[in-house]
């Protein structure tokens, strides 16, 4: 998905005192540090996966039912994954930062995926089993989507000005709309700036007063903002100095409103993905319990 990065996000970096070689070395060091931070947990996940595979082999080598071994491993990992939801609801630092739990959740999710493939394979047959598999894959894919969005969204959000809580955005939009209205009123009181007031009434009222619509939420772009800003700049020839100053302030408000819309869209996307990840959980747990009961009912040994 293409995301829009507002123009005011383009920050200028301070020139380095170490020169280009120092910058390059620091860049490599940082890259290796980041890779190391991911490599170690990935190796742990791989080792855990191999342990699970060994257990499965061991059970199979004793003519046991390896599906029960891998199934219970999967259930245990799923239980650990569910603990993140519990941790988020407990307001304390005693059990460690939520961010740490979140990272562990991501790596456990990878192990869970491997464990699932060991247990059920990639393709599942049977109506009930398929339903369970669809639930699992839906939760897994939404989790992966949520992880990707959580990785990319902070960069996008910080590029769109100071971060604002989702529930505070409507109030901020309201303040921006009020400021734009006051600016338009001021322009209307002056004959050399009246064109700005007319433009506000004909075009900008709807921009400041209404939501951006569904498609902007799906794919937020800066095309509309660019059109409005271009139209505002074109008005400079009708305005005197004071009017031009008011127009610049109006352009700034358009930019702020667009940033707020962008933040709202990105944050809604995060919430939707995270929400979808948890909506199916209850159903998945119930189907899993039914699956275990069916397995015990129909299997001759375990």
């Amino acid at each position: 998905m293409t995301s829009f990065v507002p123009t005011n996000a383009m920050s200028t970096t301070e020139p380095s005192r170490d020169g280009p070689i120092g910058n390059t070395l620091r860049g490599y060091a940082s890259m290796w540090a980041r890779a190391g931070r991911r490599l170690v947990p990935c190796m742990v996940v791989l080792a855990a996966f191999l342990v699970l595979r060994s257990i499965q082999n061991s059970v199979e080598a004793k003519l046991g039912n390896e599906a029960f071994a891998s199934g219970y491993s999967l259930a245990a990992i799923t239980f650990l994954l569910l603990l993140l939801g519990v941790r988020k609801r407990v307001i304390t630092q005693r059990f460690g930062a939520v961010a740490l739990w979140q990272r562990s959740h991501h790596y456990l999710g990878m192990l869970c995926l491997g464990s699932y493939v060991l247990h059920a394979g990639v393709i599942t047959t049977g109506w009930f089993e398929s339903l369970l598999a669809i639930s699992f894959w839906a939760i897994t894919l939404s989790g992966l989507g949520s992880w990707y969005i959580n990785r990319t969204a902070p960069r996008l959000l910080s590029a769109a000005g100071p971060q604002i809580l989702r529930q505070d955005i409507p109030e901020r939009k309201n303040q921006v709309a009020a400021a734009a209205y006051r600016l338009a009123m001021e322009a209307a009181g002056r004959s050399d700036s009246a064109a700005l007031a007319d433009h506000y009434q004909s075009t900008l009222v709807s921009f400041f007063g209404f939501h951006r619509g569904f498609w902007y939420f799906v794919r937020p772009t800066g095309a509309h903002r660019r059109r409005i800003l271009a139209a505002l700049e074109n008005m400079d020839r009708y305005l005197d100095d004071k009017g031009t100053d008011l127009r610049r302030q109006m352009s700034q408000l358009v930019q702020t409103k667009d940033d707020l819309d962008f933040q709202s869209a990105i944050q809604n996307r995060i919430r939707l993905c995270a929400g979808f990840h948890t909506w199916l959980l209850g159903g998945f747990v119930i189907l899993t319990v039914a699956h275990v009961l069916l397995a015990y009912q129909f299997s001759s040994h375990w």
Binding site: K62, F128, E171, L281, L287
Partner: protein, 454 residues
């Protein structure tokens, strides 16, 4: 202190979407400003994202609960619970009632699971039936398997690998203490006996169903084989334990006597009895590499058998041949066979040629003549301690004598009558020429006068 500003209540101010929410907020689902005064305009509280999340979680959980109870509750919908399609061999049994077959098997279409899964019979239908008697019951899953498979595997009731008893397996297999039982992860999976130690091995431990129509039920993973076969060896020629008492003289699915071939024929020819000659095909790869259960005639048998067969065909087809029987044993058992050549009265030996078998079967009471004889047709394999087999041999002798006397007395007409009895009607005109040629070896009428009847 507010750590997390996402509202946990189910409603929020109706004006929050426009950024005009008041600090009071909704109380008990109603606007907090309600009733405070005419100058305060109350809002209509709206549901929070938290509330919608909970509703959706509950809805999906409820949906899953309905599906689970639907699957669990109604027996007729059990096919929904099946983890996958059955293999072809089992699926065809469950399609419809199969009547008139060797095994009278009938499975209620609405209660198919109980055919193989115990404890489901009382939930509708009658489950599997054998000879019109419902097999109910407190039987294990493997016992249900044996309702159909016991005939082909009489020793399967031992419930152990290769249909051997635990003690027999123990003699065959040396326990390897360094095996899986003492593996690093044994503390996680607990101690499970090796298969040969177990006296209750289930069929499904090796044969996995519900893997789809294309799944081969006989396909067993290496891990499972190695639950017993843990002693590694480089090859059959290097390190494999010696084959004791091999080849065995026991009759197999394929009528080939390994022991007789090794002891008699190969020894006579001075050839070495090498497994590879008949079981390894170098230019083909099968399930177990280049090793095959049987190779084509040209590869495995032709070197010895092609010339005798060709010679036998040139000399003609044996139609009548007196078998050799042990007169003394029959006599001791109370069967007097009367006149019978002395040279053919010492021991049970020889076979009944196929054309003679047909002629004997065409006579009255000939249909069941061969029912109790060995499937190979070799009289040397008869068990004379078995009363049924003794009776069958005595009947065969009498029937052979009757056929010989009939042909001797009636000549070609008698032979034609036997052939007509065999095909249950007159010989077609097109086959008359062949029959005339075939019967030409016999006299046109009886050539022995007076004929003896005993």
């Amino acid at each position: 202190m507010n750590y997390y500003r996402t509202p946990r209540s189910s409603t929020k101010c109706g004006k929050s979407a426009t950024g005009q929410s008041c600090s009071l907020g909704p109380i008990g689902g109603r606007c907090g400003l309600q009733g405070l005064g005419a100058d305060q305009v109350p809002c209509k509280p709206i549901r929070t994202l938290h509330w919608w999340n909970n509703v959706l979680r509950l809805a999906f959980a409820l949906l899953a609960l309905i599906v689970a109870s639907f699957v669990w509750g109604s027996f007729s919908t059990r096919r929904i619970a099946t983890p996958g399609p059955l293999s072809v061999a089992h699926a065809q049994l469950l399609v419809s009632k199969r009547g008139g077959a060797e095994i009278a098997l009938a499975i209620d279409a609405n209660n198919r699971c109980s055919a193989c899964h115990p404890g489901l019979e009382n939930q509708g239908g009658q489950g599997i039936q054998e000879n019109d008697v419902p097999v109910m019951a407190s039987q294990s899953q493997s016992q249900l398997c044996l309702h159909c498979h016991l005939e082909a595997m009489p020793d399967a009731q031992f419930g152990s690998p290769h249909d051997l008893t635990g003690s027999a397996l123990k003699q065959l297999v040396e326990r390897n203490d360094r095996g899986a039982n003492n593996g690093f992860f044994s503390f996680l999976v607990g101690h499970r006996p090796n298969a040969w130690e177990s006296t209750s091995t289930e069929c499904s431990q090796c044969h996995r169903e519900h893997q789809g129509a294309a799944h081969d039920l006989k396909k067993i993973s290496s891990e499972r084989c190695q639950s017993c076969h843990q002693n590694a060896f480089a090859s059959f020629s290097n390190g494999h334990p010696e084959f004791k008492d091999y080849p065995s003289g026991a009759s197999r699915e394929i009528a080939f006597d390994h022991k007789r071939h090794q002891d008699l024929h190969y020894t006579k020819k001075g050839a070495s009895f090498d497994c590879k000659v008949c079981h390894i095909q170098t230019d083909q790869v099968g399930v177990v590499g280049k090793v095959f259960r049987s190779l084509p005639f040209e590869t495995a048998c032709a070197s010895c058998h092609s010339e005798p067969i060709r010679s036998a065909a040139q000399d003609g087809l044996i139609v009548l041949q007196l078998p050799s029987v042990n007169r003394k044993q029959l006599s001791d058992a109370g069967f007097d066979i009367g006149v019978w050549p002395e040279q053919a009265s010492q021991m049970n030996d020889g076979t009944i040629p196929i054309p003679m078998r047909w002629l004997l079967q065409a006579e009255s009471n000939g249909e069941n003549l061969f029912a109790s004889l060995p499937p190979s047709g070799r009289l040397s394999e008869m068990d004379m301690n078995d009363p049924q087999q003794r009776q069958a041999l005595a009947n065969l002798v009498q029937a052979t004598k009757a056929l010989m006397i009939k042909l001797a007395n009636q000549g070609q007409p008698g032979f034609r009558e036997s052939i007509a009895g065999l095909i249950h009607g007159p010989v077609e005109p097109g086959a008359q020429g062949w029959l005339n040629e075939f019967a030409s070896g016999l006299p046109p009428i009886c050539s022995v006068r007076p004929c003896r009847n005993g």
